[in-house]
């Protein structure tokens, strides 16, 4: 197909703009990568843009992998992410489908769900519920079940499911399909783009979360990666916060170790997105259904 001149001009402009954006957004990641290969002593003395490592070394990665908690943390995080996200997806998809249908209590339920986005019991009552009444303290259920549905995600998914043409669902029903069948055969395949977004949102949320783990887990062997990472990142901060307590005498942890930890803790989750991207290709799914 031939493009008109202004359209071609736009394409070039658009390409340049996005390229610029890509460079701008790639930088922080690149900086962290380079810093993780750098020599700590040179790194402390450096300020400004970092285009190549200062005195190449891999000791930081060695130190990170030698940390007794990191490999464990990896395993724990993966368990939490996989189980948690699976539960999230099932719960949210079922809830979103049901709430995108028409029935009498729908608006009441939606209101009640939105209400919980704003009002909650807060830290202590939630802890008492999960720890003292449900006895989940010390287990991963305490991190997974209380966040089984994120209401914000649920609403986004409902919105997306509402846009599925009613005619498709009606025709399936004509063929004698029940609600569960409609959900599995029609709605889920059509919703793959939004489901993959949810997979990403939930997966990343589990990957990054540390606060619930901090509350419920006491055995360091069970700590997820982010809790360990956070301790390493804030180590210096806590030190300087307690000025006057005379605690300033801890050896500052190697600057490059901090960056290596970030890399180690971030890379795996970054790799998920490219796998999901194929669900974002325009129109693929609608076409597939029609065949």
């Amino acid at each position: 197909m031939r493009l008109s001149l202004p359209e071609r001009a736009f394409s070039v402009f658009n390409g340049l703009l996005l390229m610029l954006l890509a460079v701008g957004t790639l930088y922080p990641f690149y900086h962290v990568l380079m810093a993780s290969f750098s020599d700590s002593k040179q790194l402390i003395a450096h300020s400004g843009v970092l285009l190549r490592p200062l005195g190449f070394q891999l000791d930081a990665y060695q130190a990170v992998l030698d940390n007794p908690n990191i490999l464990n943390g990896y395993r724990n995080t993966i368990v939490i992410v996989v189980t948690g996200t699976l539960i999230n997806l099932i719960m949210t998809t079922v809830a979103a489908y049901a709430l995108s249908r028409t029935f009498m209590l729908k608006n009441t339920l939606l209101m009640m769900i939105v209400f919980t986005m704003f009002f909650s019991g807060g830290l202590i009552p939630n802890f008492l519920l999960v720890n003292n009444f449900l006895h989940m303290g010390g287990t991963y259920w305490a991190l997974i079940l209380p966040s089984a549905i994120n209401s914000w995600n649920l609403i986004v998914m409902i919105t997306s499911m509402r846009s599925i043409p009613e005619s498709l669902i009606e025709s399936a029903r004509m063929d004698g399909a029940g609600e569960f069948r409609v959900l599995l055969r029609i709605v889920v395949p059509l919703s793959m783009p939004v489901i993959s977004v949810m997979l990403l949102y939930y997966g990343v949320a589990h990957w990054n979360s540390w606060f619930q783990a901090l509350l419920y887990l006491r055995d360091r062997e069970t700590f997820p990666l982010q809790l360990i990472l956070r301790e390493i990142l804030i180590f210096k901060n806590t030190e300087s916060m307690s000025i006057g307590a005379g605690v300033g005498d801890q050896e500052a942890i190697g600057e490059s170790i901090r960056y290596a930890t970030i890399m180690v803790a971030t890379l795996p989750i970054l790799l998920v997105y490219p796998f999901l991207q194929k669900y974002f290709v325009k129109g693929v799914m609608v076409g597939a259904i029609k065949e």
Partner: protein, 302 residues
């Protein structure tokens, strides 16, 4: 009458109600059951005594907050930062998604998508380190300013710059990540609509206006409504990493103020009271936005 109708509905939509059973159970157990604990906003809660044995103090915790010398300043700063973030930060990922959507070259498209979402994963501490570095007197932004004949200055030390720096860095970090949902919505648009538009002789601009945008309007509106419901929330972490007493005037927000009050001391009652105040305002805002949108555009959460 109502009961009767409900009964009929339960029978008619039996499958739907069965599907909703675990969902409702979840919300009752994990959300509504602990909600009574919010009473600590009206108590002088001490963990050792427990929720029910801590003494009542009425509205004292709210009064402490409202009577603070800085109450109006932190409300104003919170609202302004949120507002700018809404005005500039909300459309940015939509525009990005539309631009990415126009790219024909599949590999380039994937590259831009993947790269632009990277900063979301870099922790706030590190990102703020970059911001401090780039805005310092010798930093890259000052180099650009001086190249165009301006004078170098510590940009972060000037209260007038704080919101700009905060909001633009926020966009920089989140634009790619936030655009994902729009890209997903774009992929759901029926390609036949584009074919039809082309047959009508619509160019790319017209197609965007008449097919693409309407295709994602509902998600845009819903996200906008949700965003309105968080106007009083500005997280403290980034603020406290960037502000200094020099910029309190424009930078100090509710959460950073509460954070300073709470360093080392967990005053759960006070924090709960402030949180409750924020929630009420936010809920009212969301409620109004939802009603307004229902009337104007037909898009609604409920």
């Amino acid at each position: 009458m109502m009961i009767r109708r409900l009964k009929d509905d339960l029978v008619k939509n039996k499958a739907i109600y069965i599907m909703l059973l675990p969902v409702v159970a979840y919300y009752i157990i994990f959300k509504y059951a602990p909600m009574s604990g919010a009473v600590i906003a009206f108590k002088d809660f001490s963990p050792g005594k427990g929720i029910w044995h801590s003494p009542w103090v009425g509205l004292d915790n709210f009064k402490d907050f409202f009577e603070s010398y800085y109450f109006w300043r932190i409300i104003r700063n919170t609202l302004l930062i949120s507002f700018y973030d809404l005005v500039f930060g909300f459309p940015a990922p939509i525009i990005l998604a539309l631009l990415i959507n126009e790219v024909r070259l599949a590999t380039f498209k994937r590259f831009v998508q993947t790269v632009s979402y990277l900063p979301h994963f870099i922790s706030t501490v590190v990102i703020c380190g970059f911001i401090v570095e780039f805005t310092s007197t010798g930093g890259i932004i000052n180099s650009i300013i001086s190249f165009f004949g301006g004078t170098r200055s510590a940009l972060l030390g000037d209260a007038g710059n704080f919101r700009t720096i905060y909001v633009s860095s926020q966009i920089w970090q989140e634009i790619g990540w936030s655009s994902i949902i729009y890209l997903a919505a774009l992929s759901g648009i029926n390609p036949e609509l584009y074919e039809a538009a082309k047959i009508d002789g619509a160019g790319r601009w017209k197609q965007t206006l008449n097919v693409t945008l309407p295709g994602i309007t509902s998600i845009i509106v819903i996200l906008l409504i949700l965003k309105t419901g968080s106007l009083l929330d500005v997280g403290f972490e980034k603020i406290i990493l960037l502000y200094s007493p020099m910029t309190y005037e424009t930078a100090d927000v509710i959460s950073s103020f509460v954070y300073r009050m709470g360093i080392g001391a967990n005053d759960y009652s006070f924090t709960t009271a402030v949180g409750l105040f924020q929630s009420i305002i936010n809920f009212v805002l969301l409620f109004s936005a939802n009603s307004l949108s229902r009337r104007l555009s037909g898009n609604k959460i409920w």
